[in-house]
């Protein structure tokens, strides 16, 4: 291969030899970026799955966009020489860090949040990866995670040739979700399970379900729970155990409904609602396990598309500005939020308040009464939200300190994959003219939908 020219691409050398394909470095006069050519192994006697999987990758890759996938450049069909040329992402795959495990919990959370961002983006593009593992994760220089290898992926608007051609579930055993072991390939929360297994491994240095060699062993995870991470490493905080074990729930509906919600928890440890999962000190007793094994509630294939499922579990953020708001407007804002939450049980709510800081940071966080303003605002947010009657963990509270209110809200929405922002409008037109409109700026620049609540003819 090296030295050959295929459709204008000059093959330099072998970058990686995998089980199903070989990766070569290539150059092309028209493309000024590092590139890889992926060529499937098509030798006699090779697993036919290798061909179908490459075919799927050829269908899926040209449709993917954004920073979390390698940019697609070109491909060649099976009638001549099959290949895919894509952007080469610099740096080492996450698998290179396996030797250094366990990692400190903050680093595990940061990696998890970056990968969850990438999964959220992928799921919004109708794709389920189905082979999330350290070797398939790379990072751009800015820290964004990139998911590679779409050979086992499922695309909801394309025929799934892997599903029908082969009986065996394909995937990587230590990270494979229980429903994947049953042959279900249409569940986006399978990726959340895999990421949970990865986080478990990175936090404890052990795999949650070992590395069974047979399908029977893989299916054990349908009823046998993993050793709680804190039992293996007591230094792991309860919130991280809560997050990891929620990802590893047997039934997809008990996991995080979306990767965006998982990323949110990994970025706000202090806001994770701790339940029995956080408290667990040992695996479930044999009686419980036996009961599960024989009265097993198996995951079933979901009928809703991934995007419908994601849309049912959005992250809503409401910005509450106590200084500017009458009680009427505060109530109207709450009503609006209540309506939006009522129709979507998977939704969660982030309540925001911006504490303005002076540009010259001689500002003190203590006011004249000596009360901590930050804490006071948090308490006021919780008070505002109390009539909503939300279950613990469904709402979180955040006081942002910033010089510009609109910028603070916008930054928050971008960093936390917020789907919908709700805020009240300043009532008086005079004030708006003098101070500028926060809601106007947020509505114009937000990366998501924005609802502005205003009292009719109010003042």
């Amino acid at each position: 291969m090296p030295g050959r020219v295929i459709d204008g691409f000059t093959v330099a050398g072998i970058r990686h030899e995998g089980g199903m394909a070989v990766l070569y470095d290539v150059t092309h006069p028209d493309h000024d970026l590092p590139m890889l050519m992926k060529v499937p192994r098509l030798r006699e006697g090779e697993d036919p799955a290798a061909i179908v999987s490459f075919e799927m990758e050829q269908m899926i890759m040209p449709r993917l966009t954004g920073p979390h996938v390698p940019r697609f450049i070109a491909q060649g069909g099976f009638d001549a020489e099959p290949y895919i040329v894509m952007e080469r992402i610099g740096g080492e795959p996450l698998s290179h860090r396996l030797r250094a495990l366990p990692l400190p919990p903050p680093e595990v959370a940061a990696i998890g949040a970056a990968v969850a961002d990438a999964l959220d983006d992928l799921h919004h593009q109708n794709v389920i990866h189905l082979d999330v593992k350290p070797a398939n994760i790379l990072f751009r220089d800015n820290g964004q995670a990139v998911l590679i290898d779409y050979g086992l992926a499922h695309h909801e608007t394309l025929p799934d040739l892997m599903a029908e051609e082969f009986r065996l579930p394909y995937g990587t055993v230590p990270y494979m979700a229980p429903e994947q072991a049953l042959g279900i390939r249409s569940e986006s929360r399978s990726d959340i399970f895999a990421l949970g297994a990865l986080l478990y491994q990175f936090a404890t240095a052990d795999l949650p379900f070992g590395e069974p060699q047979h399908l029977k062993g893989v299916k054990e995870r349908l009823w046998r729970d993993p050793v709680p991470p804190r039992r293996r490493r007591p230094a792991i905080p309860p919130w991280l155990q809560e997050v990891i074990l929620r990802c590893l729930e047997v039934l997809p509906e008990n996991r995080y409904p979306t990767a965006a919600q998982l990323a949110f928890d990994l970025r706000h440890p202090e806001q994770v609602a701790l339940g029995p999962r956080a408290e667990k000190t040992r695996r479930d007793g044999w009686l419980t396990v036996l009961h599960r094994r024989f009265r097993q509630q198996e995951p079933v294939a979901r009928r809703l598309g991934t995007r419908t499922q994601i849309a049912a579990a959005p992250i809503l953020a409401v910005a509450v500005d106590f200084a500017e708001m009458s009680d009427d407007l505060a109530g109207a804002l709450r009503n609006q939020v209540q309506k939006m939450l009522a129709s979507r049980p998977g939704a969660r709510l982030a309540c925001l308040n911006v504490l303005k800081t002076a540009l010259l940071s001689l500002d003190t966080t203590l006011d004249e009464h000596g009360r901590n303003r930050h804490v006071q605002r948090l308490v006021e947010l919780q008070h505002w939200a109390r009539p909503l009657g939300l279950a613990e963990g469904r709402a979180t509270f955040h006081v942002l300190e910033a010089a510009d209110v609109a910028d603070a809200i916008l930054d928050y929405a971008r960093a936390n994959l917020v789907d919908h922002l709700v805020l009240g409008a300043r009532a008086s037109t005079l004030q708006r003219r003098v101070l500028g409109s926060v809601s106007g700026k947020v509505a114009a620049e937000a990366p998501c939908s924005v609802t502005v609540v205003r009292r009719r003819g109010g003042d």
């Binding site: 036919p48 061909i51 179908v52 075919e55 050829q58 269908m59 069909g77 099976f78 009638d79 909801e156 608007t157 394309l158 025929p159 799934d160 040739l161 599903a163 029908e164 051609e165 082969f166």
Partner: protein
């Protein structure tokens, strides 16, 4: 080359025009009408006039079972509503309409693509491809790399791989599906004039030929007008109602 494939128009002028406009706006180079121009709907004459013009301009038209029934006396296999509509349709056609229908071929093949109203194994028997087994029967009876048919009124795609399994797939409107060359495909078009998959919008396919990429489109049209004409013509009311709900 960009082909627009329309099947099961069923004398629904509003749906037919909406799909033709949609396809022209997206740069269709050629129109292919895969059978059942008439039957059920209230505009057989205008739809046929339009089809005759299209064919004169280079379009392809194939024979469907309703087109055949409109020519002959029989309505075997038809339910009551279909038979009533067919009897009415026959009274509307002129001699030139009959000549046109009588000259339509059952199948057409070009560059490894087979076009047929029902399916490939016995086109004149009007069998339905409603599942993977029926798709296999058609795929195994021909050498075409890709078969395109109508008749079922519900869009579907079947892939025959090297392992011999037939993979069924329900196409998503507006999402292009590449029909890779080393695999064999059978694509069922949805209906232009009488969709039956709970979506009343008209359905047709845009097909790129190099490489082969199929996109099923859903086109909203004035269903109320088409239904009103069916009622005004005294045709069975059920034929109007089903258009409104796509069943």
């Amino acid at each position: 080359m960009r082909l627009a494939l329309l099947a099961d128009i069923h004398a629904n002028l509003e749906a037919f025009r909406a799909c033709l406009d949609h396809a022209r706006d997206r740069g269709a180079d050629r129109i292919l009408l895969l059978g059942d121009l008439v039957g059920y709907g209230a505009d057989p004459e205008t739809v046929l006039d339009l089809a005759i013009d299209l064919v004169a301009g280079g379009a392809l038209a194939l024979l469907g079972n309703h087109d055949e029934a409109a020519l002959g006396g029989g309505s075997t296999g038809m339910n009551d509503m279909a038979a009533t509509a067919m009897a009415w349709t026959r009274t509307r056609l002129t001699e030139s309409h009959r000549r046109f229908l009588g000259a339509l071929p059952l199948t057409e093949e070009e560059e490894g693509r087979l076009y047929v109203h029902s399916e490939g194994s016995a086109p004149a028997l009007w069998r339905y491809v409603s599942d993977a087994e029926a798709a296999r029967r058609s795929l195994e009876a021909t050498t075409a790399q890709a078969t395109f048919c109508g008749h079922v009124h519900r869009p579907a795609l079947y892939a025959l791989g090297e392992t011999g399994k037939v993979t069924p797939f329900r196409p998503v409107a507006g999402a292009p599906v590449p029909l890779a060359r080393h695999r064999r495909w059978l694509a069922v078009l949805g209906a232009v004039g009488q969709p039956r998959d709970a979506d009343p919008a008209a359905c047709y396919m845009m097909l790129e030929t190099v490489p082969l990429v199929a996109t099923w489109h859903r086109v909203p049209y004035d269903v109320a007008a088409a239904a009103a004409k069916i009622r005004a013509a005294g045709l069975p009311l059920g034929l109007a109602e089903r258009l409104l709900v796509g069943r």
